[in-house]
Symmetry: C2
Subunit: 180 residues, 2 copies
């Protein structure tokens, strides 16, 4: 009963809100979830078939579109499985930032190189922040239309706050490096 694979749970989580194809699940991973999770086709498709075999989801062909879509739906059993996992305590929150790792060893570099890493990090955050800010506006607008939106908003707010803090840190870090 333990040993819930994360990939299964994420997929079930996405399916708990709407029917999806494997391709659409991957899209959710790369847009909405990418700020705190990731997965590739190589793990998504096998996991989907596995979920069907275990009766946690069902698969059907799409008849409406011209494409060969396979639409997955969560079952009652799948929803129970998801709910159970959701109540279990968090196993781990992991942050693996290569930027910090390289900066930590920055003494082996010159300051200009370290600066480049900070600036690249800053740029990436500056580029991604607008998407989060936009998501916040949209979610706030339709907050009472769908009870799930409140939870999405929670994670979006997390992203916005931390990203803004990252940008503040970048400024400070650049100053500290410059010798200030």
């Amino acid at each position: 009963m333990a040993n819930e694979k994360k990939i299964d749970c994420v997929i079930l989580g996405l399916l708990s809100h709407e029917e999806l194809t494997g391709y659409e699940i991957k899209k959710r991973m790369d847009t909405t979830l990418k700020y705190f999770w990731s997965a590739s086709y190589g793990s998504i498709y096998p996991a989907l078939n596995d979920l069907v075999q275990r009766g946690l989801a069902t698969k059907r062909e799409d008849t409406e579109s011209k494409r060969n879509k396979l639409i997955y739906t969560i079952t009652e059993s799948g929803r129970n499985y998801l709910k159970k996992w959701l109540t279990l305590p968090i196993e781990k929150d992991e942050l693996h930032y290569e930027t910090l790792l390289k900066l930590f060893f920055g003494n082996e570099l010159d300051e200009k190189q370290a600066l480049l890493h900070i600036e690249a990090f800053e740029k990436k955050i500056e580029e991604e922040l607008p998407y989060l800010l936009n998501a916040e506006i949209i979610l706030n607008k339709y907050l009472n239309k769908d009870s799930a939106h409140k939870y999405y908003l929670l994670t979006v707010k997390f992203g916005i706050k931390t990203y803004q803090t990252y940008l503040e840190w970048c400024k400070e870090a650049k100053k500290l490096l410059a010798g200030g």
Copy 2:
């Protein structure tokens, strides 16, 4: 020349500052580096032997202590390898927070359960923050004794700022969940 394994680079990074045993390397991972990196014995010891074979580090037995210590030292070749890796652009910064994942699917839970996850997260951050604050004080004190300290301080400051932001978010999140 590409395909630098991260574990090799992290170890070389640690060795670039001081000679260390595998056990001590693991300790660094679990204390100083844990805020942005991790590794287990199962990857550290094989990596160390591999580094020696490739001439990037040397191994010698400790003669002074009574313990069977194997002390590893970085070579010139190892230092060059490290420097080269450090100048390469960052490949990826990854955040995998199960807390956010579960919260994202929080609509499948009741609000009390979601709250528990936030509180557990808050508690963990509150427990870890003092270590970072303490590290900052120490690093500031000896900032001009060792040029590497500046870079350590950079990453510590990152941790402090983000952790403080996390705590702010927890407050906000709890309010939002409570229906505010």
